[in-house]
């Protein structure tokens, strides 16, 4: 039918629009020329070899530090908030959730500038810690969303059943709550890590002298000769991100199946 063919064409165009730019990255990262232009000049891995650069590695380590700290703190905060929201009927819970999720709707550049001003006013130095702070604002809503969904599919009686069967609060957490929450926790850790690792704007404003990887890449774009190396780096980051996102989504959806009977 005509309309279905049209739809198919549209889907194809859409996918091309989404992925062709992304595929340009690996393509030119393997191209044996310093210029990003067709026709291709032959295969090389020398841009990848050029990644062994100490400033780059320092930036990578910075990004890993920030990403891991952000992921851990954000997931911990998300965990406690999600538990409170789903377990108790709190007054103002919805309002609180709204306030927590607000940074999702504030442009990152506004967030970056306002944090910069705030830190300046308070006289605090810019550092990786301030980047973590900024990333937490962005990441806690993600953690919260993933973890609330997880807690909501969780029969409250399970923890009571554990207590009933003789386990105290700590053992109940260890034997019931944690195993059931684990997929949600891992998904939250991965999502927030990736978000922080890829984040540029807030990091650009708050990192000071300690560049994170995206900030470092940005700084390298000034030197045309370094561009293919940046492409190589981008390709690696892309590959790792894709693997992590797929893993996180898989975990998130592999849910506790709802019981067949009862509520």
């Amino acid at each position: 039918m005509k309309s279905s063919r049209l739809l198919f064409g549209y889907a194809l165009a859409y996918l091309a629009f989404l992925y062709v730019p992304v595929l340009v990255l690996p393509l030119f990262s393997l191209n044996n020329s310093a210029f990003i232009a067709f026709p291709l000049a032959g295969f090389t891995t020398r841009w990848y070899a050029g990644l062994a650069d100490s400033a780059l590695q320092h930036a990578l380590v910075n990004s890993l530090k920030v990403g891991i700290a952000t992921a851990l703190i954000s997931t911990l905060l998300g965990l406690t908030a999600a538990r409170a929201v789903t377990r108790y009927r709190l007054r103002g819970a919805n309002a609180a959730l709204g306030v927590i999720s607000l940074p999702l709707f504030i442009p990152d550049i506004v967030l970056g500038i306002s944090l910069l001003l705030l830190l300046g006013t308070l006289g605090l130095p810019l550092s990786l810690a301030s980047v973590v702070l900024g990333h937490l604002l962005i990441c806690v809503p993600f953690s919260l969303t993933v973890l609330i969904a997880r807690f909501e599919g969780f029969d409250r009686n399970l923890e009571e059943a554990s207590a009933d069967l003789g386990e105290d609060g700590w053992m109940t957490f260890w034997r019931v709550t944690l195993p059931l929450m684990l997929p949600g926790i891992v998904a939250s850790l991965l999502l927030t890590f990736i978000t922080s690792f890829d984040e540029f704007l807030v990091a650009y404003f708050l990192s000071g002298t300690e560049a994170t990887l995206p900030v470092y890449i940005w700084s390298q774009l000034r030197f045309p000769a370094r561009l293919p190396m940046v492409l190589a780096l981008g390709t690696l980051i892309l590959a790792v991100s894709v693997v992590l996102v797929i893993f996180a989504e898989k975990l998130r959806n592999q849910g506790v199946k709802k019981p067949v009977v009862g509520a």
């Binding site: 009571e160 069967l165 003789g166 386990e167 105290d168 019981p259 067949v260 009977v261 009862g262």
Partner: protein, 350 residues
């Protein structure tokens, strides 16, 4: 003091009294049912016994020990939850073994205990089955086995058969009774199904609006309900207004309007009835006789239910038709007799 004793226990949620000064005494080794309509506070009472809710006042004791300050994980009770609450990340074996961890049994002993329990609830060979691959009936058995394997002093069951279909429910009722006899543990079962309560238990407490109305054996409850609410909650009952004329050696003489003057045995009248009181006379449909002398009426409906067939008779001067068990005689007119020994006198609630 009895084995499980609930004394003057009350509980309110946000100003709503849900359990109201409840007294309950359950003897060791009995199958005790708590029967009441939905929302009357049964689950709340059970959760207080298990330790998940704290009573606002009153005491709960088990085997002579006051339980009020004992946390759930240290109480000698185990519960079969209304939702079963099977651990979804554990298989059947590990679900049943969950509560045995603290005993630190040798591996062989643990296995033996769990397998014995699997056999008791007739789930032999299903130990390795994942929790989400169980049918409703199987989940119910796992929940039961998981609680029983700890050999609690009191087993609490919150509408354990409510989620099962009718046939499975009836089969499980028989099994539950058999298992209780076999293990000899005190069972406290909550239900809103009167047939379930009557057929399963040694004693039944009828609850309504947070209060206990009557505690008695199933037979006594059926034959001698102590108030209108219990009488109409359990089976069908015909009621007549009457006034008490005389209370004598032989019995209680009442004037029951259409039925005339009747003298019923003393034991058939509830305590506290005095001469001059307006009371209710109650009689079960199967106690009403079709006779040659008595009150005449007209058959208005009849329902064929095999063994449990019944018909309704409209009597002039009375709004509610009289329900009678059995098959109606031919013709539309019928004469009914109400044997005095089967009439009971209840305080009139209004």
């Amino acid at each position: 003091m009895s084995f499980l004793s609930v004394s003057k226990v009350s509980k309110a949620f946000g100003g709503n009294t849900v359990v109201d000064a409840v007294d309950l005494d359950v003897e060791r080794g009995t199958f005790f049912a708590l029967l009441g309509p939905s929302g009357c506070g049964k689950t709340t009472l059970l959760r207080m016994i298990a330790g998940f809710e704290t009573p606002d006042s009153g005491t709960i004791s088990i085997d002579g020990e006051v339980m009020n300050a004992v946390p759930p994980h240290q109480r000698p009770t185990n519960m079969v939850f209304q939702s079963y609450a099977i651990f979804p990340h554990l298989n059947v074996f590990d679900n049943i073994a969950y509560g045995l961890r603290q005993l630190r049994l040798p591996r062989e002993e643990l296995r033996r205990r769990v397998e014995t329990m699997l056999a008791t609830v007739r789930l032999e060979g299903l130990g390795g089955r994942a929790a989400d691959q169980l049918s409703g009936g199987q989940r119910q058995r796992v929940a039961l086995a998981r609680a029983l394997v700890r050999e609690p002093k009191v087993l609490l069951l919150d509408e354990p058969l409510g989620a099962l279909d009718k046939r499975l429910r009836e089969a499980m009722q028989i099994e539950l009774r058999t298992i209780q006899r076999k293990v000899g543990i005190t069972f406290l079962l909550v239900t809103h199904d009167q047939e379930e309560a009557l057929s399963l238990s040694d004693r039944v407490a009828v609850m309504s609006g947070g209060r206990i109305l009557q505690v008695a054996s199933p037979r006594e409850l059926y034959q001698r309900p102590n108030c209108r609410e219990v009488a109409s909650f359990i089976g069908e009952m015909n009621f007549f207004h009457a006034s008490v004329k005389d209370i004598g050696e032989k019995g209680v003489t009442v004037n029951a309007g259409l039925l005339g003057n009747i003298t019923l045995p003393r034991a058939n009248a509830a305590n506290g009835i005095k001469t001059g009181d307006t009371i209710l006379l109650a009689i079960r449909p199967e106690q009403v006789r079709v006779a040659s002398e008595g009150v005449t009426g007209e058959i208005i409906t009849q329902t064929f239910l095999g063994e449990r067939s019944h018909f309704h008779v409209k009597i002039a001067g009375r709004t509610a038709p009289v329900a009678v068990s059995g098959h109606p005689p031919p013709g539309s007119a019928v004469t009914l007799a109400f044997p005095p020994e089967n009439l009971i006198g209840l305080p009139s609630s209004d």
